[in-house]
Amino acid sequence: MFNFNPQTLKKLRRFREIKRGYYSFVILAVFLVLSLIGELLINNRALIVSYEGELHYPTYSAFHPGTDFGLDYPYETNYRDLKQSFADQASGNWVLLPLVPYSPFENDASTGIFRPEPPEVEKKHYLGTDATSRDILARLFYGTRIALVFALGFMVSVYLIGVAVGCAMGYFGGMFDMLTQRLIEIWSNIPFLYMVIIVFSVIPDTFSVSTRILILLGVMVLFSWTSMTYYMRTETYKEKTRDYVAAAILIGSSNTRIVFRHILPNVLATLVTFMPFTIVAAIASITALDFLGFGLPPPTPSLGELLKQGTQTLRTAPWIIMSAFGALVVLLTLVTFIGEAIRESFDPKKFTTYR
């Protein structure tokens, strides 16, 4: 499918040889794939309900009011109770629940009081519950999913803008370069965190949660793309003076062709090396913003919100901070390992004779 050149293949092989980075990559990739079907693993909706000979699959379907399964309420069925009552009736009906049968939003207080409860395998609260008795594993899982998707989206957007502007500056040079460079200098001196806080606090509330997350992403990208342009600009400058570019110009290639076919592939190494670190930065910023209360709107599950809860309940519910902190450490370590490995495998010095 892909036709990599030998150089790239060599780098990829090298990446595979760096075990730490490679396994980190595998773990993270598996997690990403799992998280895309997360509703099948961690959810309060049942996977399969067999009711009076008919099979229902509530996970991705429209909601089933309790009356659908012979219960007396018109709102969403509580499938854990349903499973219990089917078991008690022994009428051949059955329910298959996900591994962790809780949604990240529902309060499940065993004592009738909303408070943190320690991990308990029997109740399937594997990491305990948070300050309002919501399952921490569910909140961590979906919080991490949002953070990862957010970070990926952030990275792609930042690179699109940064690479485009940086390449153009380096390739065209002259007045365009000079003016853009000044603009970027001014722009990058606007304090990013304050701007995010200000902009996000005036967003109208009529937008749905996902729109608000998108706006947050947009604002963050708006103030973060500049750093990428510096590297791209210098790299492009460097490549532009090489003989092969001169040759391409000589045979009459268009600017587009030169940039996309000749220069970009040659500066790719720089880009790829930075990617994981951009992701780390994005996860850290979104967590920090949530911690400060300016990030994702509640009750969206998020690492920062859990961390904040954890610091407030250090004495009484240490499992909250431990889970949130542990997840963050693991996540950031994995991405950093990948980054280190990529940097090492793409390092041109490996193949020089000066080593």
């Binding site: 709102y75 309060n107 009738g112 606090s201 209360g293 509640p298 009750p299 519910a317």
Partner: protein, 652 residues
């Protein structure tokens, strides 16, 4: 790194420039200061407003007045109280100014700068609600003349030793009515609430109010003078000039501005020869010699500071701190080092609830509002989140004794009733996610806005429960200023807030329920709804209540001086408001929790009925010996008798 260095350089140079500039300015200021004197301007103001400011002689005083001295009320505080020691308290933020009037003066820690120990002419007794004298020696109320007469206590002194006279009260009118004070609310209050002040002699004056109301005495007796001698330089630059000067008052504590550790610490000193120290109502109060106020901005850190013994008293606001962080079996509590008390207090309290904006689409339909009432599961919030300690609020105006409605109660959580009301409004089917939709496919969803982050968990509970009734609540958490501005501009759907009630005789109706505070011209001549009406921002009618039949009742209530009629009207207004369904009564805290180290001592009854905070009456005292003994006992793990008490003598 280079960039950071550069920034540092710029900041430093900017600071240096600023310092140089400031130094220059203050030098200049000192020169001008000595020459400033506004005495003539004040006299000119008095001359120009003879209607408002009247000079009379003591012979002009009516002789049919019945003077009250208020000396028959029970004493306040405990005879066991001992003076001395240092009381350690925290401020949640450093004061931006020492002024308690003008721009930026409404800061959260201002109560410690002045309000907590300030005095008025007379104050309501914290148990009986009858007046006892502050700076006044006696007062007389004349309903037919709409006038309150006050004799000032000849012993009354400002904290700087100057005598308090009628001139200081006259000056208060000049001061608060001036544009220089930059306090529109207070200026407006003085414009609308008082019509005349008359000076009879240095220690006698009277103030006339525009309307005779059952509680009109409070307008005067609970006000205070302004020290004219201190504000000699009061002028256009008042906010800057008086930014860090400490205004004298009549209370027991003072601050030495030179001693302030900016941003960190403030110390209050007790006046050793305070003029009221032997007074019946003050002799057992204001006991600590020093009050040390240090800034700790974060609640969790304030709690840790208390646990270390850095501060003496900790007010506990939430159940998780009371039950989980500091449970009764905590070693410090079980060993008797830290005492815990629950004190039930009386009077009106914060009315937490959902303020539904009836001017918004769909919310202008009464059926939708009533549905929301039944879809708000406050019972679950109270039982599971507040652990049953809070009471359910009944109406917006609980706690006003006879003025509160005797029988009205909040509507319970009832999914079927909620669905019924929503169906009446056209929302009769559920969408794929369980939220109700109407025939046009519009969702039954509203934004629940608030700036109370500490109650964030309450909203997630309400949200999850409302889904059962097919109602979607989108939670919008904002910071204080932005959030409240949104509500004031009436751009909210539903706002969660409470209006802290001061201890007044009767609830305010006009500002919350009158249509003039909801819309510009709410109704046409014939009483029908004006189709072109626009919402009126910056009023307290956050629910946009506009009921044509209700307005005359509110007007009558507003003007009546007959207490019995006002009570009757109050009940009618509350019934109409209840039927209108724009307020979902939430919870009310009928008590306050206090944790304190055992060296803080309290009267036998702990505190007084109308107190909102344990320390506000200063009836506690610090036993420095006990402090040392407790410290020693902590080191040697030696226990004392634990003290976990409930004082419910004032429970209603």
């Amino acid at each position: 790194m280079q960039r950071i260095e550069n920034i540092k350089f710029y900041i430093l140079s900017a600071l240096v420039l600023l310092l140089v500039a400031c130094g220059g300015e203050s030098d200049q200021g000192a020169e001008v200061e000595s020459s400033l004197d506004n005495t003539q301007e004040i006299l000119d103001f008095y001359d120009a407003n003879p209607e408002l400011i009247t000079f009379a002689t003591i012979d002009d005083l009516p002789n049919d007045l019945i003077w009250e001295e208020g000396m028959d009320q029970p004493e306040i505080g405990s005879p066991d109280a001992v003076k001395g020691g240092t009381y350690y308290e925290v401020l949640d933020d450093f004061p931006p100014t020492l002024r308690t009037i003008g721009p930026d003066s409404n800061f959260s820690s201002r109560s410690w700068i002045r309000d907590n120990y300030d005095m008025t002419w007379a104050m309501p007794h914290p148990n009986t609600n009858e007046y006892y004298p502050g700076m006044a020696e006696a007062w007389a109320i004349s309903l037919e003349r709409k006038t309150i007469y006050v004799k000032i206590n000849p012993a009354a002194r400002w904290t700087d030793g100057e005598a308090i006279t009628s001139d200081d009260m006259l000056f208060a009118f000049y001061f608060y009515l001036s544009d220089h004070v930059q306090a529109p609310f207070t200026t407006n209050y003085f414009t609308t609430e008082y019509t005349n002040i008359t000076k009879y002699d240095d220690l006698t004056f009277s103030i006339t109010v525009p309307k005779a109301k059952p509680d009109m005495a409070s307008r005067v007796l609970q006000s205070g003078p302004v020290p004219q001698h201190f504000y000699k330089e009061f002028g256009e630059d008042f906010p800057e000039r008086y930014q860090w000067r400490y205004a004298p008052h009549a209370g027991a504590y003072y601050i030495d501005p030179d001693e302030i550790d900016m941003g960190v610490n403030i110390v209050l000193h007790r006046l050793k020869d305070w003029w009221a120290k032997d007074n019946r109502y003050f002799k057992y109060r204001y006991n600590p010699d020093r009050i040390n106020l240090s800034v700790v901005r974060d609640t969790a850190k304030r709690y840790e500071a208390f646990r270390r013994g850095d501060t003496d008293i900790f007010r506990i606001a939430t159940a998780d701190v009371w039950y989980d962080n500091l449970p009764d079996n905590d070693p410090d509590v079980a060993n008797g080092y830290i005492h815990k008390t629950t004190f039930y207090n009386g009077g009106p309290k914060s009315n937490w609830g959902l303020w539904i904006n009836a001017s918004r689409p769909f919310l202008d339909n009464q059926e939708v509002r009533l549905g929301i009432q039944y879809a708000a599961n406050w019972e679950l919030v109270i039982s599971n989140y507040f652990r049953g300690d809070m009471d359910r609020l009944k109406t917006q105006n609980d706690g006003y004794a006879k003025f509160s409605h005797p029988t009205l109660t909040a509507r319970p959580f009832d999914i079927n009733k909620a669905l019924e009301h929503f169906a009446n409004a056209g929302f009769d089917r559920r969408g794929p996610d369980g939220i109700l939709v109407n025939a046009e496919g519009q969702r039954l969803g509203f934004t629940l806005s608030t700036h109370y982050e500490r109650f964030a968990d309450v909203f997630t509970i309400l949200k999850e429960e409302a889904i059962k009734a097919g109602l979607e609540l989108r939670i919008e958490m904002m910071d204080g200023a932005t959030g409240f501005r949104k509500a004031q501009e009436k751009r909210h759907d539903i706002y969660f807030v409470s209006f802290a009630a001061s201890n007044e005789m009767y609830p305010r109706m006009w500002s919350y329920f009158h249509s003039v505070n909801a819309y510009d011209q709410a109704f046409l001549e014939d009483g029908s709804i004006n189709p072109e009406r626009t919402v009126k921002p910056q009023t307290n009618n956050l629910q946009s209540v506009a009921i044509a039949e209700l307005d005359p009742l509110i007007d009558e209530y507003q003007d009546s001086d007959d207490k019995a009629r006002m009570i009757e009207l109050s009940h009618q207004i509350q019934q109409a408001h209840h039927d209108y369904g724009s307020f979902s009564p939430g919870f009310v805290q009928p008590f306050y929790w206090t944790a304190y180290w055992r060296w803080v001592k309290w009267p036998e009854e702990f505190n007084y009925k109308y107190s909102l905070y344990p320390y506000e009456l200063f009836v506690h005292w610090i036993d420095e010996d006990a402090r040392q003994k407790t410290r020693d006992a902590q080191d040697s793990d030696q226990p004392f008798e634990p003290h976990i008490a409930v004082y419910d003598q004032h429970r209603e």
